[in-house]
Amino acid sequence: MTDQWTAAGLYGATPQAPSYVGAPTQALGTDEVGTGGWRRLVDPANPLVWFGIALAVTVGLIGVAGSVRLGPARASLSVGE
């Protein structure tokens, strides 16, 4: 915006809140709680969740192990041991 052509620039008027440019009206009136705050942190859609899991596995904080046996054949897999 060219300041010299605004009421603030020409007349020193206090700039008005631009209710009509990108106003955050989306947050109003939803019937769902939890689109923000701590729930967003644990939302699987949040990439940080997966980064955190990978980090925890790497440092050994969490792990998972399992094995499968079918007759003489046996397979096992472990992550984070």
Partner: protein, 393 residues
């Protein structure tokens, strides 16, 4: 299921509107100035009557051109017939413009409209134009335009305080400009009209016969006056898929108030309607004695100024003559000599520096010191103000 809120409609000047972007830099090169009739020439509703027109809901309205024209036909025996000192400009006794819920953005007489136009447009001048004024013919300070016809029938002319010389049909043609935007360049305070929700109404109250003339006992008068309104409107351009508008966050107001009971010595008038968020651009004041303007000079005024708070007096002219000179320097027209217009101007030279912030000047008032007590003394005070759009008038 996640519900998505429907965004509330964006607002411009309190009116729900599609998505517009305030972007003066893109608006000015892309808009188109338009001029079209809002009211084609129509007979007025008679002297003392009121006419109104609802303006078209298009674009951004920056101003209205108002024309009053027709004839005054005097018949019978003309003796004892004279025009009042309100003729011709105050044929408009009250010009009222309401817009988008803001009642009375304009509320003033024709003389104030003319003086405000002259002050805000220094190109306009009345110098060298002969006009009948009282018993004389004068050529400066009349506030006349060369395009004006103040009443002409052959060699006879009408004017303020002029005795009507002969019966006949006198032609009249007067032009007024209603400044909707505070500045015709930046268009700040123009009115957003591009919406079905908008409501713009111009109402004109015409002077009564007694306000503009005294009719001799055996004289008759037939008026055939018309009015026409032309809108000065700017289109809302679409730039890169977005509609852009200039800064419309303010409204522009000229509101006139009358104070009576003037006395000899100091008279102070508290300006009505001041408040936070409002900025005073100009005050146009006229003192009348027995309905005739009191000329602004050293003989009539010993001081003119404005003040606020307890006794803060930022500007005072030591006599009327100096106030008159200061007004002439700003306007290029001698406002005070004949029409008695006192001007306090805060907008013409450098508005950013000079405008009076009404939020910081409580009890804002103007004052004048009169040498003599006027007869039935009264003063008309017109305030030209800018205020934030969502705030009430």
């Amino acid at each position: 299921m996640r519900a998505v809120a429907t965004p509330s409609a964006p607002l411009i000047q309190g009116i729900a509107s599609p998505n517009y972007r305030v972007d003066p830099a893109k608006f000015y090169p892309n808009t188109r100035r338009m001029r079209f009739p809002m009211r084609t020439g129509t007979a007025i509703n008679g002297l003392g009557g009121t006419d109104s027109v609802q303006l078209r809901q298009t674009g951004i309205v920056a101003g209205l051109e108002l024309r009053v024209y027709g004839t005054l036909t005097f018949g019978g025996t003309i003796a004892g017939t004279s025009m009042s000192t309100e003729w011709p400009l105050n044929i408009i006794q009250d010009c009222r413009l309401s817009a988008n819920g803001q009642s009375n953005l304009m509320k003033c007489k024709g003389l104030t409209l003319r003086a405000a136009e002259i002050v805000s447009n220094p190109k306009l001048s009345d110098d060298g134009l002969d006009r009948a004024f009282g018993a004389a013919t004068v050529n400066s300070g009349t506030l006349a335009f060369p395009t004006d016809d103040w009443g002409t029938f052959g060699a006879n002319n009408l004017g303020p305080g002029v005795t009507v010389a002969a019966t006949g049909a006198y032609t009249v043609d007067l032009a007024f400009f209603v400044p909707v935007a505070s500045d015709q360049v930046s268009l700040i305070a123009a009115i957003f009209a591009q919406s079905q929700a908008t409501n713009l109404t111009l109402e004109v109250q015409w002077a009564t016969q007694n306000q503009i003339l005294t009719l001799g006992g055996a004289a008759t008068l037939a008026t055939a006056l018309n009015w026409a309104v032309t809108g000065l409107v700017y289109s809302i351009p679409n730039v890169g898929g977005e509609f852009v508008v200039p800064d419309l966050s303010m409204f522009h107001q000229i509101a006139e108030t009358r104070f009576g009971g003037l006395v000899q010595g100091r008279n102070e008038h508290l300006l009505p309607g001041t408040g936070v968020g409002r900025r005073l651009m100009r005050v146009l004041q006229q003192v009348v004695s027995n309905s005739a303007p009191v000329a602004v000079n050293a003989t009539n005024f010993t001081a003119i100024g404005w003040a606020y708070g307890g006794s803060d007096t930022p500007e005072v002219y030591p006599n009327g003559q100096e106030a008159r000179v200061a007004a002439w320097r700003v306007a290029g027209v001698d406002l005070g000599a004949r029409w008695g217009v006192i001007l306090h101007d805060f907008a013409s030279q450098f508005a950013l520096r000079d405008l009076v912030d009404e939020g910081a000047t409580s009890d804002l008032r103007v004052f004048e010191e009169l040498v003599a007590a006027p007869t039935a003394g009264a003063t008309q005070i017109a305030q030209e103000t800018l205020f934030a759009a969502p705030v009430g008038a």
